[in-house]
């Protein structure tokens, strides 16, 4: 019961014989209530917006490109000679970004005809692909006598085979090619003097 003339707060703390325990309980209740109120206040101090989303779509397309350092090679031929080197080296740079299902990149050189890799035209005299040699990255020179993914039968050469793994799905390689025409085989020793022209193709394929 409130005592007239005495502030309520002081009355609650006033030790009396009959109300001491009650006073202590009330004090604890006040403290707990204050703590709860403070806790609730702190919890309500943080306010979040709703989460807004942005859909992201990134397309890394497959690509396989091949560039050559040059597009012309000349040969000064000596009749019946095995060594008729080309005038310069041509470097093929192959660059790729491939899907996860790819296993290999191959680089090929080929002609569209095995019998007439180079020809003098209307005269009907030809240099076959078997007489045309390529040395790739200073390796052993090899004739274009294989049937490959492109070109004519028996008119090609695989220059490189690159296994594709998780480590090189996007990568590149270079093939430095030097050329030679061997005029010693078969009737090539009797090849008439003339100008012989042809087109060598370089192409890459991912499997």
């Amino acid at each position: 019961m409130h005592r007239p003339g005495l502030p309520l707060k002081e009355e609650l703390l006033l030790p009396t014989l009959g109300g001491k325990m009650k006073t202590v309980r009330i004090s604890w209740a006040v403290m707990v209530g204050a703590a709860l109120a403070l806790s609730a206040s702190l919890a309500s101090a943080q306010v979040n917006s709703g989460a807004q989303t942005i859909a992201l779509n990134a397309n890394l397309a497959e690509s396989l490109t091949l560039n050559l350092s040059a597009n012309n090679v000349s040969f000064t031929l000596n009749a019946g000679s095995a060594s008729n080197p080309g005038s310069g080296t041509v470097t093929a740079t192959t660059t790729w970004t491939l899907g996860a299902g790819r296993n290999a990149v191959n680089v090929y050189a080929y002609f569209v005809s095995a019998a007439a890799a180079l020809t003098d035209g209307a005269a009907g005299d030809n240099i076959p692909s078997s007489a045309f040699f390529i040395s790739d990255n200073s390796g052993t020179a090899a004739a274009l006598t294989n049937t490959v993914a492109f070109g004519a039968a028996n008119a090609g050469l695989r220059l490189a085979n690159v296994p594709i793994t998780a480590a090189n799905r996007s990568s590149s390689r270079t093939d430095a090619m030097t050329f030679n025409i061997n005029l010693t085989g078969g009737t090539l020793g009797q090849l008439p003097a003339n100008t012989y022209t042809g087109t060598l193709n370089i192409q890459a394929q991912a499997l």
Partner: protein, 190 residues
């Protein structure tokens, strides 16, 4: 005789004063009548709130393998509106992914991590999502902006223009594919 006149005069003045006082009192009693005061308890609640809207919800990227510059197809503006309590000191806008290792994925086990996803806020420098923020996965977030809340902007608005980039230089062997993901933007005041 004179005394009688003076007495009569005084009596007349007193009578006049009494009559005037009586009239004034009667007049006043007729004009003012007050009732008792009846209180009406008023309770107005202005709830705190933060609303975030985006100008768009999709961004496309045309990727180039190994390239550090793969910009998004468009920028997105995040506009934040707020009404906050006096106890709030700051409002922050976050961008985050739920995973730092797979921010975008092709679904076949190949991922673009959040560290290679970059945001430029309000034409600032591009920054990757590599921080642990209030939302999202660990090391998968970025604090886009902070607005100090003062007395003058307890209710206010803010816009953040975000542009995006994917840096593939750290993952040059990422296989070709279509990578998808969800970037989440969210604001928090405290």
């Amino acid at each position: 005789m004179n005394n009688a006149m003076q007495l009569l005069t005084k009596f007349g003045r007193v009578a006049a004063l009494l009559l005037a006082a009586t009239l004034v009192a009667a007049h006043a009693h007729a004009q003012v009548r007050n009732s008792g005061a009846s209180p009406i308890a008023l309770n107005a609640v202005l709830s705190d709130s933060i609303t975030l809207t985006l100008s768009g919800n999709a961004v496309n990227f045309t990727l180039t393998g190994g390239s550090p510059s793969n910009p998004g197809s468009t920028g997105i503006t995040a506009t934040t509106f707020w009404v906050l309590k006096p106890s709030v000191n700051s409002l922050k806008l976050y961008a985050f992914f739920s995973s730092s290792t797979a921010a975008l994925t092709d679904g076949a086990g190949h991922n673009i991590p959040s560290a290679d996803f970059q945001i430029s806020a309000n034409a600032g420098a591009f920054a990757p999502l590599t921080n642990t923020v209030a939302f999202g996965g660990a090391n998968a977030g970025l604090l886009v902006s902070t607005v100090p809340i003062r007395g003058y902007n307890k209710a206010g608005t803010n816009s953040d223009v975000m542009t995006f980039n994917i840096d593939l230089a750290p993952i040059p062997t990422l296989p070709a594919g279509i990578y998808t993901g969800t970037l989440t933007i969210q604001a928090q005041a405290f």
